[in-house]
């Protein structure tokens, strides 16, 4: 299988001895790929190495077969990049900024102009295209940053936390747009700390912690690995329910918090069947029965805990 991005043994150690990325090996296919990790995990350093801003201490990176060090110009011709803090020239208008970036990416003036118009419509900034970027809100700058990263119609686009400054509606909209890019056959490399938008959009996920890969796979593969998802059950008599659950071998870590019972289970279907039976038997009122967080969140949390050596 030909991968869009091939990373082999990537390491970055700074002159002060701090290793931000350590022996990272990843093969990234086309589609939406999300690099997850907590603050300081090495996500931004990885992205900055991939776009050529930072030179790796060791390891190789190939983008669509082009080595980022030995064939840098060809590799960069095929990428788009949105930095964590979207940057632009404040005195320029959005249209001029996109045309400038397009021309630097190798487009002709007319191609850049057409693409700029199209992208400004796509990110909903058409009405603001002549205003100086300095007058834009943080969310507008973020949308302009995404447009900038796509101006040369790149085959691989690196987005460093693209939804970070967006409100919930704009975030959902952006997620849909990125999914669309993935469906169009582009490789959308997306780094994030938040999982809520990831589960619905990612084809592949990798989790890094302290610069090391701790988990990689498709969302389906990773959610199957959940060892014990947690559930929140709100009933009229939580202590009674907790006592009944303690008798079930597939229910663990049972605790009562206010009017809710929190319980973990590896056998989800059995729990789903057992709880309504107990509630009915004792004539309790069932107000809420739902998993706490998503399955991917559970996987993510477990992977990070294992990486820190606090689990197993």
């Amino acid at each position: 299988m030909a991968y869009a991005v091939e990373i082999v043994g990537l390491t970055k150690t700074y002159p002060n001895g701090f290793t931000a990325v350590s022996g990272l090996t990843l093969n990234i296919p086309k589609g939406v790929f999300v690099l997850l990790g907590p603050n300081g995990a090495g996500k931004t350093t990885t992205v900055e190495i991939l776009v050529g801003a930072i030179k790796p201490t060791s390891g190789t990176v190939r983008i669509l077969g082009h080595d980022i060090l030995n064939d840098a110009i060809e590799a960069r011709r095929r990428i788009g990049y949105l930095p964590q803090n979207p940057a632009a020239y404040d005195e320029m208008s959005a249209a001029r900024f996109l045309i400038y970036m397009g021309k630097l990416s190798g487009l002709s003036s007319s191609e850049a102009s057409t693409k700029a118009e199209e992208l400004l419509r796509w990110v909903g900034l058409e009405d603001w295209k002549r205003s100086p970027i300095g007058h834009y809100s943080a969310g507008m700058r973020q949308r302009l940053g995404v447009a900038q990263s796509l101006v040369n119609d790149p085959e691989v686009v690196f987005l460093d936390e693209p939804t970070a400054r967006l409100d919930s509606l704009a975030k959902q909209d952006m997620v849909e747009r990125l999914k669309q890019l993935g469906r169009e056959g582009k490789c959308v490399f997306f780094s994030s700390q938040t999982l809520s938008e990831v589960e619905s959009m990612a084809d592949q996920v990798a989790v890094i912690s302290n610069g090391k890969l701790v988990l990689q796979g498709s969302v389906e593969e990773l959610t199957r690995r959940v060892e014990a998802a947690e559930y929140r059950i709100e009933v009229s008599e939580p202590n009674v329910l907790a006592k009944e659950l303690e008798a079930l071998r597939f229910a663990t870590d049972i605790r009562v918090e206010n009017s809710a019972v929190l319980v973990r289970s590896k056998e989800h279907e059995k729990l789903w069947r057992a709880v309504p039976g107990i509630v009915s038997l004792h004539g309790m009122e069932l107000r809420l029965f739902m998993p706490v967080g998503t399955k991917l969140e559970e996987t993510y949390r477990e992977a990070l805990e294992k990486a820190r050596g606090t689990v197993g």
Binding site: T44, E48, V51, G52, A53, I54, K55, I73, E74, R76, R77, I79, Y81, P83, Q84, N85, P86, A87, A88, Y89, D90, E91, Y100, M101, K103, L104, S105, G106, Q148
Partner: protein, 283 residues
């Protein structure tokens, strides 16, 4: 269009259309007016010139000539000229870094050296005509007030002197900009060189000939002075003052030209190396 041409076009547009360009215009053209007025005042009453120059080792300058007026003009215009060079050079790479746009540029299919070169060449394209206009206005002022004609050789000598000096200081400031990636630090570091060299320049004429010769080696302005002396065919300096030579041989001219070129090219090359080899982090 190549990456260099696209970058240069933006640089030229940004500089020429910015509000600060009006300030630079004033900084370059006002000294011509001030120089013209000062020349006229001295022409009317040379006693002030005698008083100003009476401490010079060869004795005071008593006659107000075109070359004396151009010397006074040079002293006036050098300050805004050098400050402009330092500010523009200091902001070059560091300005892109502080805006966060350096990482965007680096992710495009262009060479890093094109970023530095585009900024350097754009500076020259914008400020060389301003320098020429300023020198021309001063030369015409001297003729209009009746002091005398500034010949082509003296005009070209001064123009070369000014441009060479600007290029040296832009190169040095660009080097600091590329190394520190902080505009203020870069400007401050370059200003240290400016102050040291200016102090040296002020001290040299009052030194005995032997000491002046040894100190002269350290001052870039003296190499530029040699170029000026040669190109103006000895008309730039009316008499030998400290380390300044009225006439310069062709060999000395070539040597000074080589030193000035090195002072331009070495910092510029090092700034390219610094940008090429050092990582570019976020703001």
């Amino acid at each position: 269009m190549s990456g260099l041409a696209i970058l240069m076009r933006r640089e030229l547009r940004e500089r020429a259309l910015s509000k600060s360009f009006l300030i630079y215009l004033l900084l370059f053209l006002a000294p011509s007016g001030a120089g013209g007025w000062f020349s006229y005042a001295l022409h009317q009453d040379p006693s002030a010139l005698i008083k100003i120059t009476e401490l010079l080792p060869p004795g005071p300058i008593t006659k107000v000539t075109a070359s004396v007026c151009m010397m006074i003009f040079a002293d006036i215009i050098m300050i805004p000229m050098i400050l402009t060079a330092v500010l523009q050079g200091g902001d070059s790479v560091a300005g892109e870094q502080s805006r966060g746009t350096l990482r965007l540029l680096i992710s495009k299919p262009i060479h890093r050296w094109e970023i530095v070169l585009a900024k350097y060449v754009s500076f020259l394209i914008i400020f060389t005509p301003l320098t020429a206009a300023s020198t021309l206005i001063m030369s015409l002022s001297v003729a209009v007030v009746g002091i005398g004609q500034v010949g082509t050789d003296l005009f070209l000598g001064y123009l070369t002197f000014f441009i060479a000096t600007e290029m040296v200081y832009v190169s040095i400031a660009t080097l600091f900009s590329s190394c520190t990636r902080r505009p203020l630090t870069a400007v401050a570091a370059a200003l240290v060189f400016v102050v040291l060299w200016m102090m040296l320049e002020l001290v040299i004429p009052y030194m005995p000939q032997e000491t002046a010769e040894s100190l002269k080696v350290l001052s870039p302005t003296n190499y530029a002075n040699d170029i000026l002396s040669y190109l103006s065919q000895g008309k730039a300096f009316p008499s030998i003052m400290g380390g300044f030579k009225a006439t310069v041989s062709f060999t000395e001219f070539l040597r000074s030209l080589a030193v000035v070129s090195a002072l331009i090219l070495v910092p510029l090359s090092l700034s390219l190396v610094a940008l090429e080899t050092r990582d570019i982090h976020g703001q």
